[in-house]
C-alpha cells in the first residue's frame, strides 16, 4: 500500500504537475458531464418535491386521503367515514381547494375547519400547527374572513381588517383579512398565493356548498400509530370500494400527480447522460495515450520489480482520482447550473402538468452521491482498458526505442460495429415494460445505445476512403498515412464525434418532427377565430370554470357564427389522473374543428354512451375501439363505448372525450373550461377580444393567431433544456477532438521533430495535423448523420410513442444538420491546426 502511494506520488502526481493540461482537461470533462447530469437530477427533483399539496404548508403531510375519482366528494360522507373508523384516533379534515383571482393573480383557496386545526399540536410533539400572525381576539367567528401569507400582505400593502376581494367566473367575493400566515420550520413554505378560510367560507367561492375536494386524515404519533394506520386503511378501503371513493396516502396522491411529468423527466435524465457518455470516449483515449507515452517509465518500473497487478492498481487509481476530483467539481458546478435548469424544467412542468408550489433547486446529497458515483464509474470504465494495457508492458520495453502500436482499443473495428447495429435493430422491436405504472421504453433505450456505439465503430471503415480524398501534398501524405493503420485513439476520437454529432442531430430531428407535427395539428384543430379559457394554460387550475350565465353571453347574432364548448375535469381512471372532456359543437360556420384521427370513428358525432379517447390514453391502457370503459361520476361509474382515437399533443396523461350532455347529466355541471368562437366574416377578432375581455376580465381570451404563438412558445420552452444539453455535448466533442489531436501529436513528437529535421516547416506540420483532424471530423460528421437518422427514427417511432404515446410525422432539419457538420469540420480543422502548430517548438531541440 505504501509502495503504491509512493509510486502514485512520484509517477502519477509528479507527471500531473509537469504536464498539468491533460489531467486538467480530463477533470473538466468529467466535471461538465457530472454537472450536467446532477443539474438535471436536481431540476427533476424540484419538479416533484416542489409539488406539495397546498395544505401541507399548513398541516404537514396527512396519513390518508379520501377522495372521489370524479372530482368532488359529498361533504356528508364524513359522517359515514368517521363511523367506519369508530374509536380509532383519527383526525379528519375535510378540505376544499379551489381558485379565484385577486386582480389578475391566481389565488389558491384552502378551506378547512380552522378551529379543528388547533388539534394538530396534540397529534405530534414535533408538529407545529398553523401559525397565524395576528388573531382577532374578539371572535372565533370566521364568516367572511380570510387569512393570507405574510409575504403576500406585505407585497400588496394589505393589513389586518382590510377588505380582500376575489373574483371567480363572473362573481365577486369580499372578505375581511383576519390575520396572516407565517412560515413554519416544520412545513414546506406557505405558497405566496394561498388564501386560508374556514371550510364553509371557502365552499361559497364557486358554490361548492355540500362538497369537499377531499378528506385528509391524520393519526397521532405514538407506538400504536402504524397499527392504527393499518386498521384504518383497511376499514376505509372497504368502505371506499362500496362508495365510489378512493383512499390513498398523500404520498400516493402526490405520486399520481407528479407521475404525469415522469416521462418528461426520465427523458431529460437520459439526455443529461449524453455529455458524460461522449466524454467517456475521450477520457478513455486520453488515458490510453498517456499509458502509451509512459510505456518506458512503466517498463522501468517493471524492470525494478513492480508487479503487473500493482501497475494496474496504480493506473486505475489515477482514473479514480480524476473521477473523484472531477465529480466533486461537477457537483459544485452542477448546483449552479441547476438554478438555471430548474427554471426551465419547472416552467415546463407548471405549464403542462401541475403547479409547483415551491421551486429552486436545493442541494441534495443523495443525488450528489449518485452523480459522483456515476462520474467515478465512468472514469473507472474509461481507465480500465488503459490500466490493463499498462500492466501488460514488459520490462524489456525500457530499452527499446520507438513507440509501440495502438493499444487495446483496436477492437473498435467496423466488424464489431456492424454487429452492434444489428443488435440495435433487433432491440428496437422490443415492447416497453411497465414499472410502477410507468411505461419505460427499455428496448428503445438499449437500441439507442447499440446504435450509438455501433455507428461509432462501424464508420471507422471510412478512414482509408476519406483519407484518400485528401489533396496531394507532403502534409496530406503524412496525414493520410496515419489512417492506413489507424490507432485506437483515432477510432475513439471518431466514435466520440459520431456519438455527439449523432445524438445532437437526432434531438434536432425529434424537435423538428415535433414542430412539424404540432404545426400541422394546430392548423387542423385551431380553426376558430377566438379561444376562451377559464384560466391560463396552467394545468392545475382547471377547477376554474366559466358558468353558463357567463358563457351564454359570448355569442350573439350580429357578431358570431357559432361556438364550440368544452368542459374538462380531472378524474381518476384506472388509478391514473386523466382528463374527462365534455364537448359540444354549436358551429354554424363552415370552418369546423377537425380532429386528427388515429382510429377514425364511423360517425363524426359523439353520441350518448360513447367516448373518443386520445392516443396517449389508448397506448397507456391498451384500449381499442369497441372497448367499454368505466368513468367515475358523482352518481357512480358509467360505462361508455370507445368509438374513436384522436391525436392530442396537449398532454400525455390522456383524455376521454364525451358529449357535454354526459357532464351535465352526471356531474350536474353546465359550466365550461374552454370555448372556441367563430366570428362573422366582418368581425375583427382583435376588437372582439378586447370587448369580451373588458366585460369579463377574469377569463382568458386569445385570438387564433395569439394562441398559436403561445402554444409554439410553450413548445419551444419545453425543449430549451434539450438545446442546452445538445450544445454541451457538441462542446465536449470538440474539446475532446482537441484533446485527441494533442495526444496523438504529443505521442508523435519525435516524428514531428524528424519532420522538422528533414526540412518540414511548422506550418506544414500544422497543415498535416489539420488534415488529420479534418478527416476525423468528416468521418465523425458522416457517421453522425447516419446515426442521427437511426436515432431519429427510434425516437419518433419507438421511444416517443412508448413514453408519451404520441405519433409524430418525421421531419429532418437538413439545413441544421448541414450547418452542424460545417461547424464540426471548421472547429475540428481549426483546433487541429492550432494543436499541430503548437506541438512543434520553434527550436527543434
Amino acid at each position: 500500500m505504501r509502495t503504491d502511494l509512493k509510486i502514485l506520488r512520484t509517477v502519477i502526481f509528479r507527471k500531473w504537475v509537469q504536464e498539468p493540461i491533460l489531467p486538467l482537461v480530463l477533470i473538466i470533462i468529467i466535471a461538465v458531464g457530472v454537472a450536467t447530469f446532477y443539474s438535471v437530477r436536481l431540476a427533476n427533483r424540484a419538479a416533484v418535491s416542489g409539488f406539495n399539496l397546498f395544505t401541507e404548508s399548513l398541516t404537514g403531510e396527512s396519513d390518508l386521503t379520501i377522495r372521489s375519482p370524479s372530482g368532488f366528494l359529498q361533504e356528508n360522507k364524513i359522517i359515514e367515514i368517521s363511523k367506519v373508523t369508530g374509536s380509532l384516533p383519527i383526525h379528519y379534515y375535510p378540505v376544499i381547494e379551489t381558485s379565484a383571482f385577486y386582480d389578475s393573480q391566481l389565488m389558491k383557496i384552502i378551506g378547512i375547519d380552522l378551529i379543528s386545526l388547533a388539534n394538530l399540536s396534540s397529534i405530534s410533539s414535533s408538529s407545529a400547527s398553523l401559525e397565524i400572525g395576528t388573531l382577532n381576539e374578539e371572535s372565533i367567528d370566521f364568516v367572511d374572513s380570510a387569512f393570507l401569507p405574510e409575504k403576500f400582505l406585505e407585497s400588496k400593502s394589505l393589513a389586518k381588517n382590510d377588505s380582500f376581494k376575489i373574483r371567480r367566473e363572473s362573481f365577486s367575493y369580499e372578505f375581511k383579512i383576519k390575520g396572516s400566515i407565517s412560515n413554519s420550520p416544520f412545513r414546506p413554505s406557505v405558497p405566496p398565493n394561498l388564501v386560508l378560510m374556514d371550510l364553509k367560507e371557502a365552499q361559497k367561492v364557486g358554490s361548492f356548498e355540500g362538497k369537499v375536494t377531499r378528506i385528509d386524515a391524520y393519526i397521532p404519533e405514538g407506538p400504536l400509530k402504524n397499527d392504527f394506520l393499518k386498521e384504518a386503511k383497511l376499514r376505509l378501503q372497504k368502505w371506499a370500494s362500496n362508495n365510489n371513493s378512493i383512499v390513498d396516502t398523500s404520498g400516493d396522491q402526490k405520486k399520481a400527480i407528479t407521475q404525469m411529468s415522469s416521462a418528461f423527466r426520465l427523458n431529460l435524465t437520459i439526455l443529461s447522460c449524453l455529455a458524460l457518455m461522449v466524454g467517456t470516449f475521450f477520457i478513455l483515449q486520453s488515458m490510453e495515450a498517456s499509458v502509451i507515452r509512459r510505456r518506458k517509465e512503466i517498463a522501468i518500473l517493471r524492470s525494478l520489480g513492480v508487479t503487473p497487478k500493482k501497475i494496474f492498481r496504480i493506473w486505475l487509481t489515477e482514473s479514480f482520482i480524476i473521477g473523484i476530483i472531477g465529480s466533486i467539481l461537477g457537483i459544485i458546478l452542477g448546483f449552479f447550473f441547476a438554478q438555471g435548469v430548474v427554471r426551465g424544467v419547472v416552467s415546463t412542468v407548471n405549464q403542462l402538468y401541475y403547479e409547483i408550489t415551491s421551486s429552486g433547486a436545493s442541494m441534495n446529497w443523495g443525488e450528489a452521491l449518485m452523480a459522483i458515483i456515476f462520474g467515478v464509474v465512468v472514469c473507472l470504465i474509461a481507465g480500465y482498458l488503459p490500466s490493463r494495457e499498462a500492466a501488460k508492458v514488459q520490462p524489456a520495453s525500457a530499452t527499446q526505442s520507438g513507440i509501440k502500436g495502438g493499444g487495446s482499443l483496436l477492437f473498435l473495428t467496423p466488424k464489431w460495429g456492424f454487429t452492434l447495429l444489428l443488435l440495435g435493430c433487433a432491440f428496437s422491436f422490443i415492447p416497453p415494460i411497465t414499472i410502477n405504472d410507468k411505461s419505460i421504453a427499455i428496448g428503445g433505450y438499449l437500441s439507442a445505445l447499440f446504435f450509438v456505439v455501433g455507428w461509432s465503430m462501424f464508420c471507422t471503415i471510412l478512414f482509408p476512403i476519406i483519407a484518400k480524398k485528401l489533396p496531394g501534398s507532403p502534409s496530406s501524405l503524412y496525414a493520410k498515412s496515419q489512417f492506413r493503420r489507424p490507432k485506437g485513439r483515432h477510432r475513439l476520437a471518431t466514435a466520440a464525434l459520431v456519438s455527439a454529432f449523432g445524438m445532437s442531430s437526432a434531438m434536432g430531428i425529434l424537435i423538428s418532427s415535433f414542430d412539424k407535427t404540432l404545426n400541422s395539428w394546430i392548423n387542423q384543430v385551431l380553426k376558430a377565430d377566438v379561444y376562451i379559457a377559464s384560466s391560463r394554460g396552467n394545468a392545475s387550475s382547471a377547477n376554474l370554470a366559466i358558468s353558463s350565465k357567463t358563457w351564454s353571453q359570448f355569442t350573439n347574432e350580429t357578431e358570431t357564427e357559432g361556438m364550440d364548448l368544452l368542459r374538462q375535469i380531472r378524474i381518476t381512471f384506472r388509478d391514473n389522473n386523466v382528463w374527462l372532456a365534455g364537448t359540444e359543437r354549436n358551429n354554424q360556420s363552415e370552418r369546423k374543428l377537425e380532429l386528427t384521427w388515429i382510429i377514425q370513428p364511423e360517425n363524426n358525432n359523439l353520441e350518448d354512451g360513447q367516448a373518443w379517447i386520445s392516443e396517449p390514453l389508448m397506448r397507456k391502457f391498451s384500449i381499442k375501439r369497441g372497448h367499454s370503459i368505466e368513468i367515475p361520476t358523482p352518481e357512480g361509474f358509467k360505462n361508455l363505448i370507445v368509438k374513436g382515437v384522436y391525436a392530442d399533443y396537449s398532454n400525455e396523461t390522456g383524455t376521454i372525450m364525451v358529449n357535454r350532455r354526459f357532464i351535465k347529466e352526471f356531474y350536474k355541471d353546465n359550466s365550461i373550461t374552454n370555448a372556441a368562437i367563430y366570428l362573422k366574416p366582418d368581425m375583427d377578432p382583435d376588437i372582439w377580444v378586447n370587448l369580451i375581455q373588458s366585460k369579463f376580465p377574469e377569463i382568458f381570451v386569445r385570438t387564433n393567431k395569439n394562441l398559436r404563438a403561445d402554444s409554439l412558445k410553450i413548445f419551444k420552452q419545453t425543449f430549451s433544456v434539450t438545446y442546452a444539453l445538445e450544445a454541451i455535448a457538441i462542446l465536449i466533442a470538440v474539446t475532446g477532438l482537441g484533446l485527441t489531436m494533442t495526444g496523438l501529436l504529443l505521442e508523435r513528437k519525435k516524428e514531428l521533430e524528424n519532420l522538422r529535421q528533414i526540412g518540414t516547416t511548422r506550418n506544414e506540420i500544422a497543415k498535416s495535423a489539420m488534415y488529420e483532424g479534418l478527416t476525423l471530423s468528416i468521418i465523425g460528421s458522416l457517421g453522425g448523420i447516419a446515426l442521427s437518422l437511426c436515432l431519429g427514427w427510434l425516437l419518433i417511432y419507438r421511444i416517443n410513442v412508448q413514453s408519451f404515446g404520441w405519433t409524430l410525422s418525421q421531419s429532418i432539419p437538413f439545413q441544421s444538420i448541414f450547418l452542424l457538420a460545417i461547424l464540426m469540420l471548421s472547429i475540428g480543422a481549426a483546433v487541429s491546426w492550432f494543436v499541430g502548430k503548437n506541438t512543434c517548438k520553434r527550436n527543434i531541440i
Partner: protein
C-alpha cells in the same frame, strides 16, 4: 564548404562546446570522434542548423547559418544538408518508398521525377525489393538504407551522419559503410560522420577528435 569558427554551446550551466573550429571541404568524408559527452552530436546538430550555437558562427557556402530565418534553415535542410540518425528516424506510417520520396514532396518535385529518383535510390541502396514495407517491417540494416536513400533524395551538398552504424550489427555495419563510401563518392557529397567506431574512420579522409568540447586533433 562549411566552416565552424569558435563554436560554443551551453545548455543552462553546462558548456558542451567550448570553442570549436573546423572546416569541411567539398566531397570529403570527415569523422568526428570523442568520448561520450564530448559534444560530438551537439556539434553535428549545430552544423546542420538543427541547433543554434550560443557563440561563434557556422558558415555554409559562405552563408552564416545564425543569420538565416526558420524558413531558410528548413530550405537548407531540405536541399543542401541532410542528416542520417543512429535510430534511423523514419516516419513509421510511411512505406520505405514514401519515406524516400518525402523530401522531394516537400520541394514539390513532380510525380514522375519523384518516382524515377526514388527508384534510383532504392536501387542504389539495394532495398528495392522492400520498397512497400513499413519501417517496423524492416530490419535495422534495411531501415538505415532507407534513411540513407532519403538523405540523398534532394542531392544535398553535405550529409551529416550521427553514429550511422551505432545500432547495427557488424555485417550490417560493413555493408552500410560500404554504401556510404560508395554513394558519397558517386554523388560527390561531403559527409561528416560522428562515431565511436574505428571502422567508420577507415572510410573517412580525416578524423577530428573532440574532447571536453574542444577539438584536440585533426588527423588525416
Amino acid at each position: 564548404m562549411l566552416e565552424a569558427c569558435k563554436i560554443k554551446k551551453s545548455y543552462l550551466t553546462n558548456e558542451v562546446l567550448r570553442g570549436v573550429d573546423l572546416k569541411i571541404n567539398e566531397g570529403e568524408r570527415v569523422a568526428i570522434m570523442g568520448p561520450s559527452g564530448s559534444g560530438k552530436s551537439t556539434l553535428l546538430n549545430c552544423m546542420g542548423g538543427i541547433d543554434q550555437p550560443t557563440d561563434g558562427s557556422i558558415y555554409f557556402e559562405d552563408v552564416n547559418l545564425s543569420k538565416l530565418s526558420e524558413e531558410q534553415l528548413c530550405e537548407l535542410r531540405r536541399k543542401k544538408i541532410s542528416t542520417i540518425f543512429q535510430f534511423f528516424h523514419l516516419l513509421p506510417t510511411l512505406t520505405a518508398r514514401e519515406n524516400i520520396e518525402f523530401p522531394m514532396l516537400l520541394e514539390s518535385v513532380n510525380a514522375s521525377d519523384r518516382k524515377k529518383r526514388t527508384n534510383e535510390l532504392l536501387d542504389a541502396v539495394k532495398i528495392d525489393h522492400r520498397a512497400e514495407a513499413f519501417p517496423d517491417q524492416l530490419s535495422g540494416g534495411e531501415r538505415q538504407r532507407v534513411a540513407i536513400a532519403r538523405s540523398l533524395a534532394m542531392r544535398p551538398k553535405l550529409i551529416l551522419a550521427d553514429e550511422p552504424t551505432g545500432n547495427l550489427d557488424s555485417s550490417n555495419t560493413e555493408s552500410i559503410l560500404d554504401l556510404i563510401q560508395h554513394l558519397s563518392s558517386a554523388y560527390d557529397i561531403a559527409m561528416v560522420l560522428v562515431t565511436h567506431s574505428k571502422k567508420v574512420t577507415e572510410i573517412c579522409d580525416r578524423t577530428i577528435n573532440i574532447s571536453d568540447g574542444l577539438v584536440i586533433e585533426n588527423e588525416d
